[in-house]
């Protein structure tokens, strides 16, 4: 247990989140993120993978719709209800929100918070994004079957690492990023609990573009899922013996 606790001493870094964005090929699907608060255009950012560029237009709400129409890129608008920036007091943070940097982690998909509304100017962007969220949910469901979920990032050497998630009753209670990554064999030997592992690996998806990369990488991660129990754990039937 001491070993497990020590694994969770380094938080998930921005660099780790950027690696996830890189591995999912998000840089080939740029978009504009617009945020509305109290009826004011708080920010408009051009998002290309992990790169953000602040746009100073549109200045007024009245200009917003015509500005969106003239944008060459898909525009995703997050509209907060007036006075509703208050965070959910008991938020259950899904896996993808841990993994992705701002503003990717604000694209709620179908399970949108009732206090804010998400508008997509492009239908295909929205459906592709929902496909990504559902794949992340599948990974989350699988990882949460064990106490420790590991997501290995097979990125550029300096950004490779493993993201660790500790689950209690199916919810993530702590997260961590280890770089350089710990090996599966070390985990199996030392961690003393059930472990599920999978891998994000972009290498095989070099011929794809846009969100197809993310779909393929996440599908591959789902197929790469492996589970193991601690080596010192007794088999279930070890205590069964005939009187």
């Amino acid at each position: 247990m001491i070993y497990l606790n020590r694994l969770f001493s380094s938080p998930i870094t921005l660099a780790a989140k950027q690696t996830v964005v890189y591995l999912l090929g998000f840089e080939s699907r740029p978009f504009v993120f617009c945020e509305i608060v109290d009826g004011l255009v708080l920010r408009a950012l051009q998002v290309t993978g992990s790169q953000l560029e602040s746009l100073l237009e549109p200045k007024a709400m009245a200009d917003r719709l015509s500005w969106i129409e003239n944008q060459p890129l898909p525009v995703v608008t997050l509209i907060h209800e007036t006075g509703s920036l208050v965070r959910d007091p008991n938020p259950v943070t899904p896996l993808w929100k841990f993994l992705l940097p701002f503003p990717w982690n604000r694209l709620q998909g179908a399970t949108s918070n009732h206090r804010c509304k998400l508008e997509f100017s492009c239908g295909s962007f929205q459906s592709d994004w929902n496909g990504i969220i559902s794949r992340f949910e599948e990974i989350q469901n699988q990882l949460s079957k064990s106490e420790l979920g590991c997501l290995f990032l097979d990125g550029p050497s300096e950004a490779s690492g493993v993201l660790l998630f500790r689950y209690v009753r199916g919810q993530i209670v702590s997260s961590s990023f280890l770089s350089p990554p710990i090996s599966s064999a070390q985990l199996e030997k030392n961690v003393g609990t059930t472990v599920a592992r999978c891998q994000l690996d972009k290498n095989k998806q070099s011929n794809l573009l846009g969100f197809s990369v993310a779909h393929a990488v996440l599908d591959s991660a789902i197929h790469s899922l492996k589970f193991f129990s601690p080596l010192n754990e007794q088999p279930q039937d070890a205590l069964r013996f005939e009187l």
Partner: protein
Amino acid sequence: MLDYSNQASTDWSQFFVDGDSSSGNLVIPIWWGSHEQIQGVRDFTKNSRLRLEKLLTLAHQKKRSLNIQLGFSSDERSFPTWTRERLPGSPVPVIHGSEPIEALETTRAPSFLQPAVKDGFLQFLEEVLGILSLYCSPQGPVNSIRFSWGPLELDSHLAETEHLSVYFRQRYGVIGNLNSLYQTCFKDFDTTCSKMGIRTLFDKRPWVAAWDFKNGRSFFLKNVESEIFSRVEQRGLTSVFTMSAGQKVNMKQPQVVFDDMLLESLGEQPVLIPLRIFDQVIPTAIPDFRFTELIKLEALQAQEKIQAMSQWNFSTDTRNVIIFAQRFMRADHATGIKSLLEQGTGLFFPLGLPQWDENLNLISWSSPLQKAKCAIGTEEVWKIRTGAGTLVYPTQTWEKNLGIVLRSLTVLNGMRGEKK
């Protein structure tokens, strides 16, 4: 960092390295919420995870120095559960600080305006300080105790009460002085402090109103701080105790500094939030917020350090600096900048020189004789030599456009070249 109340006490020793002084001071956060599950019942001995004295003894045995962290942060354990049940709480921003640009979120935190919350915390603090005073260096492991208000500094409710009225009376004396500064016609300070009154101030002079609003807000916390300090003095801990509220961040050599009067900023890598009153964003803060995000992103892309003016310590080791400020600048900041100029720093103001302080007094940067028009690269600028330093600003104020940081860095490099 050893978050002891989150670890089994049997695991604590793993965090100490025997006799290894090179491993530095270990940061120990002490959360009020962990030690006081039931109102007025504080646990430092029963639950094995909360045995603070055992932890301090262990650190002493292992010869490790400790930096104690007290106060508040975004951590849920900053406040006991019973304080959260006392509604309404105050909206405070949620600050993670892990990304250059973050989602704008607020949470409800228990308010120090409620006597039970304030008194409860002071009693907890008294007990903690009593324990820590027994383990202070050189006899004990406690090297420093740092108190931080954290996001509570940004609690806008602190300024929405009679405290703001008291603050206005202290600052302006008579209502006529406030009216002449803001060009308003309030009858008394109480009407000024109503919702409508504060909105009027922000409509008339947003920058000055933001200055007053922020000072009015910290006016209440300063009163609480004096109560904290008296307890620290009683325990003889003044030499190790520091209050981080309103203190400067010790960041070396920021290259880009921005005026953050209409924004809230926290942390070394400043997290920005547009100023909010009555749970709503001030419309006049939005253009500042968006422009500041733009320069922040551009500075980060150019790998230059950026810092909010309110957190800049005007240190003497500062190299040439770009300052994004408009017509107003705090009088104390103008004084700090002038002292930097005396010491030889070069300063570039791409948006022009600030002209007025919070009292609408003119800021005097130089005499007209010292001012000369010249070209740095392709940019035409005014150059003023004051002391050993140089102050530069464009002859025509630049538009707030994309690429403004890179353009400013070119001028700054030109200034360096000239100096050589």
